[in-house]
């Protein structure tokens, strides 16, 4: 599911499938648990225990997931550049575990298949889709529905699943306003928001 537009469509599809564990996560619960320890030991001092970013950029939030796009994007970055005192020196296994933890913290559900250092696999795991799907199943499990306050208190469970419905895959529905979750303050969007833009396969570097 390499294409951005397709991955968004996938997010929508996944919402319907929420509860099915077959496609969940792309990482295991064990990986996420090991990743939590590794993250708190090596990353939290700058990026925060809640991934909120204190000395460094935040690693939580739907926009963060959208910007990294796939697990490959995040993995490729941290295995070269982080942590600054020992860049790239924690070993691939640890970096994979940390990616798993960051995904889980952002709402993705663990599954049976482990995350491995396989570029094609990593590139096929859409961070916005997985984290949105996790958030949606969490919401389904707790029908007490995220109120604005709850959303604020728990930034780890953003309501990103709603925006996926408005996105390319078909012509822009012209109801872009609904893309923003009612809970989040409405903010201006890019001029091209909601429009179908051309996309490419990931990892094509000119």
């Amino acid at each position: 599911m390499p294409l951005k537009s397709i991955s968004l469509a996938f997010a929508t599809a996944f919402v319907a499938l929420a509860g099915s564990s077959a496609q969940a996560g792309g990482f295991t619960a064990e990986q996420a648990a090991a990743g939590e320890t590794a993250y708190n030991a090596n990353c939290a001092q700058c990026h925060g225990r809640q991934l909120e970013g204190t000395e460094a950029p935040a690693l939580v939030g739907p926009d963060v997931m959208q910007n990294w796009d796939t697990a490959a994007g995040l993995f490729d970055f941290i295995r070269v550049a982080m942590p600054p005192s020992a860049p790239g020196q924690l070993g691939d296994e640890t970096y994979l575990n940390i990616v798993a933890y960051i995904m889980k913290f952002n709402g993705a559900e663990p599954g049976d298949k482990p995350l491995t250092n396989d570029p094609a696999l990593l590139a096929s795991i859409s961070l916005p889709a997985e984290t949105a799907a996790g958030a949606s199943s969490a919401a389904a499990a707790a029908p007490a529905e995220a109120t604005p306050e709850a959303a604020e208190a728990a930034p780890a469970v953003p309501q990103a699943f709603t925006w996926g419905k408005q996105l390319p895959g078909g012509p822009a529905p012209g109801a872009q306003g609904a893309a923003a979750t009612p809970a989040a303050p409405t903010v201006p969007q890019a001029f091209t928001w909601g429009k179908q833009l051309p996309t490419v396969q990931p990892a094509t570097t000119k």
Partner: protein, 585 residues
């Protein structure tokens, strides 16, 4: 020239002082000497009165006791830990024996510049923001530089978009004003320049979703806080070309244009010069601006300080697709050529490190000189038209291109110095590239609108040294490399040039160095506790010259540390200042 106190505020201040008494351990600087307009125009050599030492933003001191012969004898006089963690980019100011030190989260400390004793602390209580506004929350931890001194006041621009005016003697608030709406995303990250009774400031946060359509350079009355004018860097109804350059994108979908380095000021023409940052979203594909040049992003603006009107602009990087901001120091240089004084503006304007010279009276392009490896600008015509590498403009979401310099520079906030001694501009730089790929992102409150995936910062092919200090010879017709000093670790501080023939600056390996301005030879080096940061500066008290060196947590070091893994960065933040002087003879 004293700033008049508003009567009611005087009462409030007095009342507070009575209540506070000695219990707060807040001291007072007795008989503080006010900073006059005259002083700001001709700063006494012993003092460091503003951001870069003078209105011309030169970062040059006329002091020469510390020089090539004596620098080896420097000793530590005192040191001080800063009040707050966060990225360390402070510019300590010194006047009347007091050092005014601004720290992240809008904290100001006044220290005895000779002894290092604390006189007072002002801790601003920042507006509370929702935890999910992470990008905006981070702004308070990356305040970029300085405060301003004026009359008997200290002028602080805060991370929650306020101007706060303090009494220089005791740190008490005289007045404060909410300038722009912090809940939209506005914040100050740079300090103001004071121009004859006006506080000229520029807002940051213009790449945060809620601030769409407006990014401002503003003037306020120093006495009353009244707004006198504002100039919008991304929406100028008086110049139709500006709007057209966004290719149909209405103001409410425009972001960026942040002027995030304190501007320079030419009192002779009453003109202030500011550099402007990148457009948002970063790529034109997401922005929707087609092949438009997206003015006034990545430009130099010359504004009339009396009216706020635009005198001229020059765009250093049109059609930015890679977050290659061009807001850095605009340095004013006068040079005599054939008995005529040439008025230059010199700047390593943007992250791609290209040095430009302009005629500052007209904005006319004079010349440019490349420094670090860069692949986005392919050429510049004699009339100053900049051509970009259109092969590197993404045509599709997810299309990845390798861009040099990187989003962390090349050039970054670390500011160069101009030395009238050698007529050279000393520019601290980093050799780095990164991949850039547009993403389609839904914007959220308090977060940025870049909509881009960046790869890790890596060295350009064939280059093994991340650090570069480039000494560029300046004259009105050309710029040339006088020397280039390369090092494995990246440069992490601004530089200071002095009449002692030295350039001071430091790196990620925690070394503060002094280079010979003529030769580029390192004539003194001292290892400290953390990457060298902020703006080293110098002052003199009782006939002794001091050198102040900020150190601490450095984004610039963190982003490229993989290029020099043999020199691990500390994991502690270490934000401090170290003050050196020569031993008493």
């Amino acid at each position: 020239m004293k700033i008049e106190l508003l009567k009611s505020m005087m009462v409030a201040t007095t009342a507070l002082a009575l209540i506070a008494g000695p219990a707060f351990a807040q001291n007072v600087k007795e008989n503080y000497v006010p900073v006059t307009d005259e002083m700001l125009k001709n700063p006494p050599p012993e003092e460091w009165l503003m951001f870069r030492g003078n209105y011309a933003n030169q970062g040059y001191s006329q002091l020469d006791k510390i020089n090539k012969d004596t620098v080896g004898k420097l000793q530590l006089a005192w040191a001080w830990p800063m009040a707050e963690a966060g990225i360390q980019e402070t510019a300590p100011l010194v006047h009347d024996g007091v050092m005014f030190l601004q720290t992240n989260n809008s904290i100001v400390e006044a220290l005895d510049a000779k002894t290092g004793d604390l006189i007072w602390t002002y801790r601003h209580v920042l507006t509370e923001l929702p935890a999910s506004w992470s990008y905006q929350l981070n702004q308070a931890r990356r305040q970029k530089n300085s405060i301003a001194l004026y009359g008997d006041k200290v002028i602080l621009t805060t991370a929650d978009a306020k101007i706060v005016v303090l009494n220089a003697a005791d740190g008490k608030v005289v007045w404060e004003k909410q300038v722009l709406d912090v809940l939209k995303g506005y914040s100050y990250t740079v300090g103001p320049v004071m121009a004859e009774g006006k506080i000229i400031s520029a807002i940051s946060g213009c790449s945060i979703a809620g601030t769409a359509g407006g990014c401002f350079i503003m003037a306020h009355d120093a006495n009353t806080g009244e707004e006198l004018w504002r100039f919008n860097t991304i929406d100028d109804p008086e110049n139709p070309k500006q709007g057209e350059s966004w290719g149909g994108v209405p103001p409410e979908n425009r972001w960026g244009g942040t002027p995030w380095t304190t501007g320079s000021y030419d009192p002779a023409t009453k003109t202030t010069f500011w550099g402007i940052g990148m457009p948002g979203p970063y790529s034109e594909l997401i922005r929707g601006s087609g092949d438009g040049s997206v003015l006034y992003t990545n430009s130099t603006l010359a504004l009339d300080t009396e009216t706020g009107k635009l005198k001229w602009y020059y765009q250093h990087l049109p059609r930015d697709n890679w977050d290659l901001d061009s807001p850095f120091e605009r340095i004013l240089v006068d040079q005599e050529v054939d008995g005529k004084t040439q008025h230059l503006l010199v700047t390593a304007a943007g992250k791609n490190g290209i040095v430009f010279a302009l005629d500052r009276d007209t904005g006319k392009y004079l010349w440019h000189k490349e420094t670090v490896k860069q692949n986005v600008v392919t050429g510049i015509d004699a009339d100053g038209t900049v051509h970009i590498n259109t092969d590197l403009i993404p045509q599709a979401v997810g299309e990845e291109d390798l861009i040099c310099a990187s989003v962390s520079g090349g050039k970054l906030w670390m500011t160069g110095s101009y030395s009238p001694l050698t007529k050279a501009y000393y520019v601290p730089l980093t050799e780095a590239c990164n991949t850039v790929a547009p993403t389609q992102t839904e914007f959220t409150a308090g977060n940025a609108v870049g909509a881009t995936k960046f790869g890790p910062r890596v060295l350009p092919e064939g280059i093994t040294d991340a650090g570069l200090l480039d000494a560029v010879d300046i004259n009105p017709t050309q710029g040339d490399h006088k020397w280039q000093y390369r090092s494995r670790p990246s440069m992490t501080s601004s530089v200071l040039a002095t009449a002692g023939g030295l350039v001071f600056g430091g790196d990620a390996a925690r070394n503060i160095n002094a280079w010979d301005q003529e030769t580029g030879e390192v004539v003194w080096s001292q290892r400290l506790n953390a990457p060298i940061g902020g703006y080293p500066s110098t002052y003199e008290i009782d006939g002794e010259q001091y050198l102040v060196v900020p150190t601490g947590y450095s984004n610039a070091a963190s982003s490229i540390s993989s290029a020099f893994p043999e020199i691990p960065l500390p994991t502690g933040s270490g934000n401090s200042i170290f003050v050196f002087k020569l031993p008493k003879s």
